[in-house]
Symmetry: C2
Subunit: 142 residues, 2 copies
DNA sequence: TTAAATCTATAAAGCTACTATAAGGTCAAT
DNA sequence: ATTGACCTTATAGTAGCTTTATAGATTTAA
């Protein structure tokens, strides 16, 4: 199978496949006489694995680690689970940070309406004066 | 005030200040005879504004827009509020996506414990078999 | 006075994970 | 012979900085 077919099969761009090869995530395939890459089933599985990891938010470096673990099939999978646990807590802290940010933004937005001049805009003055953190012990005027 | 003092005042690196100037977010300051940049309080306020926007997750392009709005103090602030509303919904969809991701990851993690060999690792087989997402139409034999 | 330390300057590369473009070679069909 | 689809490599662009390289200016210590 050539690169275009593999790309269509897995749903990526051909450049992405070459990029993964260059990054050492996909083994270099053999070549036809004209230099075209020739892929096997194994490559397809490897590429699909990478894509699913990416969908799960794993970095290429993390994927690389997972691949290296797979090279020793009889080792315990402690490290794999640890990697996933780390990733889960990473995702959770992102969520927490974004929720805090959402609160800040909503509170900032509540300090203005559309009937003002720029000069008096609650959002802009809020940012300028550093009122980007919700005041403690102060009741919101929403 | 020179660049180092401004940097310390606002809590950024000197390179970041030069970078913002290069990106058109900070007006070019005047120079001493030796070429050193000389900053005023206005620059300090402008830089602090940029940093607070960045903390709120606004992109440099969005900050640029906010700055251009500030150039017309008597226009209505509708666009500012709209920009913030857009940003809020952007943040909210990020949160939603991350929460869905967290669920996937936790369910994947639950399919394994640390007492297995890599070969039988629930996490790795879960990813390999595509138990993570409805996505790519792969089969057991490609 | 001179050497070291600190500050400043510019320019360019590095980071992530691709995406896009350029310039060209290969192949089947027309 | 030429179109068009496919392939090749190399290079640049994306965001928002950070790091590095190299060099000149200024200040401080010996």
């Amino acid at each position: 199978m050539r690169i275009g077919q593999l790309a269509q099969l897995v749903g990526v761009e051909t450049q992405t496949i070459r990029f993964y090869e260059q990054q050492g995530l996909l083994p270099p395939p053999s070549r036809q006489d004209n230099g075209y890459r020739v892929y096997t089933e194994k490559h397809g599985e490897g590429l699909a694995f990478i894509r699913r990891c990416r969908i799960l938010g794993l970095s290429l470096a993390e994927i690389h680690k997972l691949q290296s673990y797979q090279d020793d099939p009889h080792q315990p999978c402690t490290a794999v689970n640890a990697l996933l646990d780390d990733h889960i807590s990473h995702v959770r802290s992102q969520i927490t940070a974004l929720q805090a940010l959402e609160n800040q933004l909503v509170s900032l937005r509540a300090s203005c309406n559309d009937d003002r001049e720029i000069e008096a805009c609650g959002v802009l003055t809020g940012i300028s004066e550093g009122n980007t953190h919700p005041a403690v012990g102060e009741t919101s005027t929403i």
